[in-house]
Symmetry: D2
Subunit: 347 residues, 4 copies
């Protein structure tokens, strides 16, 4: 951290700042320029609050030099984190293809779509049983019944289950059914929930908040990691901008940026990232070309009757076509889409 004093800061103000820094267990390095004094903070003391220093008399600004996250940082852990998911490993050369409907709408629906996406090449099944909806009057999900259908779909197809949890009290119950706990964009900074999934030691897919910075996303991951739960994947799902042609703006830059700053796997969600199925294929290709470790995609048999997000859902045929294009793209970027496993049972 670096403290920049005002050009007209008094000697007393400067010595007060130095005393405060030393009281926290740090050393200082002082640059006295013609115009202003600059104080470098050196060493490792008690957590030092940038805000506190910035409000002291005579201080012009306080600049952070390093990132505020630690366990999430690639400096801390230079190798890619690898997380087993069903028969494949996320964060390795293998690409995760997580597909399924926005919401579980019924037993037949989810089982049918599970078979369809498995055949097309999916490596995991997504489906929401608890749905965060902007309106209290919208469909809120099937709850535990939906989780049971997901588990049944897994039994038949072998696909691991990715599903959202919204209530910290329900984390243990969702863990019973799901392979991966999804934290939705609206809950990225719901610290009660982050602590609960951290403690669960279950694999987590953490979605970026709709206007969170990359740093805030990694800080939210840090909450989970700080409980010793290292199985965290982060998900770029588009950010909110002024553009109205698309529902969100998929932040393609975030993919190389997160891969450079952190060791955690990065999953791309072009369904929410665009909000229109017509653009999902192009942005999926882009995400993998940019280095993403996998995709999470909304696929629905009949998007026009979907109880949510139909506008951005692919039909199974389109999804199959996309997977085959991703497979071909993998050769160029040194990644592979795992071959589908033999199905477990057939209804």
């Amino acid at each position: 951290m670096i403290v920049i004093m005002n050009p007209n800061a008094s000697a007393r103000q400067i010595s007060d700042v130095i005393a405060r820094i030393r009281a926290m267990g740090y050393e200082v390095h002082i640059s006295e320029g013609e115009q202003q004094t600059i104080i470098g903070v050196i060493g490792r003391g008690r957590p030092l609050d940038r805000e506190q220093l910035s409000t002291m008399d005579g201080v012009h600004d306080v600049l952070a030099v390093t990132h505020p996250y630690k366990i999430a940082s690639r400096m801390y852990h230079p190798e890619n984190t690898q997380i087993p998911l069903g028969a494949m490993t996320v964060g390795s050369k293998e690409l995760a293809i997580i597909a399924g409907p926005c919401s579980v709408e019924g037993r037949e629906q989810i089982i049918e779509i599970a078979h369809a996406v498995r055949e097309a090449g999916a490596t995991a099944l997504r489906g929401g049983a608890f749905k965060p909806r902007t309106s209290p009057y919208s469909f809120q999900g099937m709850g535990e019944e939906g989780l049971r259908y997901l588990a049944e779909a897994r039994e038949q197809t072998g696909l691991p289950i990715v599903t959202e949890v919204m209530d910290p009290n329900l984390v243990p119950m969702v863990c019973e059914y799901a392979d991966v706990l999804q934290i939705g964009a609206r809950n990225m900074q719901n610290y009660t929930l982050l602590n609960a999934v951290g403690q669960s030691q279950h694999t987590v897919l953490l979605k970026r908040g709709m206007s969170s910075t990359i740093e805030e996303l990694l800080m939210a991951a840090e909450y989970i990691l700080s409980h010793g739960n290292m199985r965290v994947m982060v998900c770029e799902r588009g950010i909110r901008t002024y553009e109205t042609e698309t529902r969100n703006t998929f932040d393609i830059n975030a993919i190389p940026a997160i891969k450079s700053l952190s060791h955690l796997p990065v999953i791309a969600d072009p369904s929410h990232g665009t909000g229109k199925w017509e653009y999902v294929e192009s942005v999926s290709m882009a995400a993998i070309a940019a280095g993403a470790d996998g995709l999470i995609l909304e696929v629905h048999q009949t998007p026009e009757t979907a109880s949510s997000d139909g506008r951005q859902s692919l039909k199974p045929e389109r999804f199959a076509r996309l997977v085959s294009r991703i497979r071909k793209l993998g050769e160029v970027v040194d990644r592979v889409v795992p071959q589908p496993l033999p199905e477990m049972t057939r209804p």
Copy 2:
């Protein structure tokens, strides 16, 4: 709702859309233009999903005509909602002045500041016992101990208490100590929490999410209201933009907009809305001039040692000066700052 068909939509596609709308219990009005057919949806049927219709074949776009919130709407409830808070009434001519430190840091600190803000004209005391912090390594608040100190401060000063709750499980406990439950910006769409405070029937101060639209804010209020809890104040606290000179961009437009769309009281938070104490006074004046029903302000004896948000905290003298300016401004906009009550006890 209005469905706009593609210029080249087939008769079959058009009749499918009409059948779907009728199946939901609505009537249709059809405009067949030279270029395209437009279908108006009429009447009151089952909740109709705009998304679903928009994914049907031949549909160009579906346009919503009315707002999605109901109980929060001024159409539903034309009179201003009025909420008692201590000796005054929020949403009346009286202006609420909620002041205090970002965090409760200790018994002496909160009691001292409570007396200071009461004397300066505050009508309620704010202070965080549970703090949502971006970093898991930052100070997370004093918890229930902090709540006890707040209650003690109330006993001495008569000021009602506004404090944040983050964990749905802790709502009953926080209700025991606090007069107003604050939902922070990060939790505006934490529906588990919104449902919990809705059920509590306790007064709620709901902060706008850092990049939520006004409509989303009113939809979040609707979650609380839908439990029959009508005591909801909403709070404009600045939104996230590209501007870096200030921490957030205080959305002054939101004040007349919310007052026009909804009957709920609107409180302004210029401390978070600017992030710099130097700008708090100007933006406080602006918010009241624009029609806000009150202010929530961070005040701290020694901002430079505050455990959080010192950069945006006013010292008590500045706060007192601000209240006296607001009092004078009130005469121009037909509002009053209530006179301070006699203090209860003196330590």
Copy 3:
């Protein structure tokens, strides 16, 4: 400027950076910490490019310490700049009230509205003769004919004229008719035009670009000021955000921020800042309460037939009511709305 080296920067990399800085005529102050070396740049040498240093091997980051503008800075010129405009002085205690239609639509229209706004208390007349329109098919303004009508309106009412110039070649011609050259938001970084109005030595009203930072606005002002033309007012007219209830988000924070950073007068444009006439009055009150030096407002006799911006235009009666409220507000913030001058002639 401060250069922060990587933790693992080599001694050679450090000495290269130092050599580069010295080659530009600066001195350095070096802090060698346990983790990393920090180099402060001291003195006044040739313009030093932050970007250049940031790309040298071993450099982690380069941080700017001071603002990049000079003549626009309040450090350079601590007193408020005052600019005569007709019978009043912008930047003094007097508030500028600039009002009129978006576009000049005809001789009778502009003369009639000029009389109406003068009577209501306007201190200057606005009206566009050259209109920047998003569509090449929209009305582009009346051109020089419109300027002649504006000049005639000034003759009759005594109100000085504020009008936009878009083409650097037309600056001399517009100067013949107008008292103030307006640079529109779309042209805030049209440097050819900024240089042309700078050279003209005519008074300029510089609007903030629709997503420009405050710093970029002051840098654009610096272009004009650098030609020795000190008669520059800057205008906050709302910035582009994700919010859709209003056309733009009026950045109320910008008012105290610009007043603190710069000595230039700040004019508020709540018409563009909100995009809806219903919100214009509240935001006008807010802007003056926050310290703005004046308002620029769209006023039209029959907004529903206006050739542009009718949605955000006040009718003359509403405008008169607003001026009388501003007059009353002035007493609280120590400002005055000048009394209307006697009209010159009556048609």
Copy 4:
């Protein structure tokens, strides 16, 4: 266009709206619902202003049904526009690779880099002779001298020249030297300049404004196209968001969106789109995978001494590596990078 009346609109208000629409030469289709009347506007009359209708008494909202651009629309021209550029054709299967320094800094510099990028596979040379700089004190470019060096570089390498023009008066001069006139992001809505390059009938590369919507970009293209100049390529170069890890947020969604809405070729600029050379390769791959027709990239021999944009410039070796990866990627997306032509002369 569709006009939605207020629920309580009077019969008189409704008939006034209808009369206004008919007066403009249109027919109406009326839906009288239980709640409100909806008026569809049918046919082709005089340009109808959505704003005007929206301000009439009794009108709730006016909704546009179609896009406001015409010549730029794919409806108007379903086939991809193809534009010859040196030995290749932009908008065909061939990918344009436009590379070179941000600024022309001298004769040797530009000639050397031209040879380097040609060998690596570039199909055109970029380099700025007129530089739009935020600060009036920054390097503003070499002007016509720079253009002469660019022409000399073309003579030696055969690479066509892409260079920015900022001043409408200089369009004829820049046309003498350049193959493609670049309109920079800051000038996207500088209509005087758009008209000038439209009239020139020269090929134009139009960059998206830093916070322009896709629709505004296509409307700016429409200005150029409306002069009969069909040789327009549009360029996605990143938009301004709240994210600070990158200089801009490259809008990958814009690529499939523009390709779907328009027939114009789309060029991606990952240098400005990220602002950091480390991320340029990933985002370049992404852009081509998403369907872009080419790249424009900043390449500099010694980015650390570049007079501008060094932070985002690739060294020639990195650029060569990127081109070879793009070449391989082309096979997956059915595109080719043209083989380098034999060089013309060697200095």
